[in-house]
Amino acid sequence: MRSFTYERAVAAQAAVAAAARDGAKFISGGTNLLDLMKLGIERPTHLVDISRLPLRDIEELPGGGLRIGAQAPNSDVAADIRVRTRYPVLTQALVSGASGQLRNKASTGGNLVQRTRCPYFYDTAAACNKREPGAGCAAIGGYNRTHAVLGAGSSCIATHPSDMAVALTALEAEIELLGPGASVRRVGIADFYRLPGDTPHIETVLRPAEMITSVLLPPPPPGRQLYRKVRDRASYEFALVSVAAVVSAGQGTIDSARVALGGVATVPWRAVEAEAALRGRPATTATYRAAAEAAMRDAVGQGHNDFKIELARRTLCRTLAQAAQPVRSG
């Protein structure tokens, strides 16, 4: 690992000021950053430890939403009774990711900005535009079974690895950011992530030294929430396909639906076409199939990952059918 200097921030604004230094990076849980530093993929010269900032609480918001502090560990968020009862899709997504040990350490903010697990990104001998802009992409034409079929471009086909962010996308979470000069802004999660385009190394709209301070959950949308993850192993594995769905159905008709996909796209993917194909339609298999077709209409396989397109359709159908079941009262 390259050497670096270390400081522990005790106030959020101070952390942002410290991160303005050349080569500086925030460190929180460290479960992804230290892994990448050991491999020489991340090479910060200065670490600003933000893990002890007073940003760990989960608080009620007026109107029925929740504010999740960016330093809240994934475990705490998943186990919070308000999250479990009002946003079960978020708990289900969190507990489907990583291991118990990693979830105890990984923070909410860190989960959002974790890097892809594309094996070529991890292999410093391989070409990777994300790791070294302009170097090319060894995954295109390489072994790309785990790669993206949505949102990919000619420069990068790496998937976004987070489960949590997929649930947050379906929940239309907002991300609060603190920047230099005490600037505070909120970004909807749909606007937080950037498609790779020609700059796959720029993954979010975060500005230099800007820090995630919290995630804001709006009041839960109506309907049943469900997260389904399909992967090569039963546990402790990244998604080949995942679906976060919130479906409200009454009298055999779907009133509203939110659908997001993981494991298949370069960013946590909101399937707006699927949502449009569900709204006002009868809660039937034909409707789910039509929604799944709509969601994957623009999907492009790279060879090894062609199977993900049909796998995503089937996972969507099954998840939507389950989510559209009437919510039991009482």
Binding site: Y6, L34, A79, S96, S99, G100, N104, Y236
Partner: protein, 189 residues
């Protein structure tokens, strides 16, 4: 520039060449160390404190052999820096029990033959201690049918799911599950 607003604790002066001091409470003993900021908690425990029970497997958070309890929670000690743990309580396998006075989970692993080569065992046992605490606190898992239900039934499926961060290349899993099930049923784990 930021010195005035951030505490100097743990701040190293030059480009990583200087050692930083950190105080850990390891197995209920205060230990003061001088470490390079790059030192993982795992390396600090093994190489500086000579607590070799905690094992280095993959060194990338994938195998769980390095699991320790930090402030009561199980974490991968390979994926965290020693300097980040100023003042923290760390419990390693050595802190759980002694040969003459085994922790119930240690005794259960012996009783159930929950290992073959034994390399993953300290991580398995420390992880199981943390895991049973999580169950007692009502934390849900991927194996929990209704995540809103705070009552967790410790089925074998729950044990397997919750222990998935600890790999055993000898595949002693059936006996590991039996040991944890037995210790959990036998009283405080």
């Amino acid at each position: 520039m930021s010195d005035s607003v951030t505490r100097a604790v743990g701040r190293s002066r030059d480009e990583g060449d200087r050692l930083t001091t950190v105080t850990l409470h390891v197995n209920h003993q205060e230990r003061r160390l001088a470490v390079d900021p790059r030192t993982s908690l795992l390396d600090a425990l093994r190489e500086q404190l000579r607590l070799g029970g905690t094992k280095k497997g993959c060194d990338h958070g994938q195998c769980g052999a390095c699991t320790v309890l930090v402030n009561g929670r199980r974490v991968n000690s390979c994926l965290t820096l020693a300097v980040m743990h100023e003042g923290d309580d760390v419990v390693t396998i050595e802190g759980l029990g002694d040969p003459g006075d085994l922790h119930p989970l240690q005794a259960a692993f012996v009783e159930c033959d929950g290992f073959q080569c034994g390399y993953c065992t300290p991580g398995q046992i420390v992880s199981a201690v943390g895991m049973l605490g999580e169950v007692a606190a009502g934390w849900p898992s991927h194996a929990t049918a209704d995540v809103a239900d705070p009552r967790i039934a410790l089925t074998d499926e729950e044990i397997r799911e919750r222990m998935s961060g600890n790999l055993c290349r000898c595949a002693a899993y059936p006996n590991i599950v039996a040991a944890i099930r037995g210790a959990a049923a036998g009283g405080p784990g």
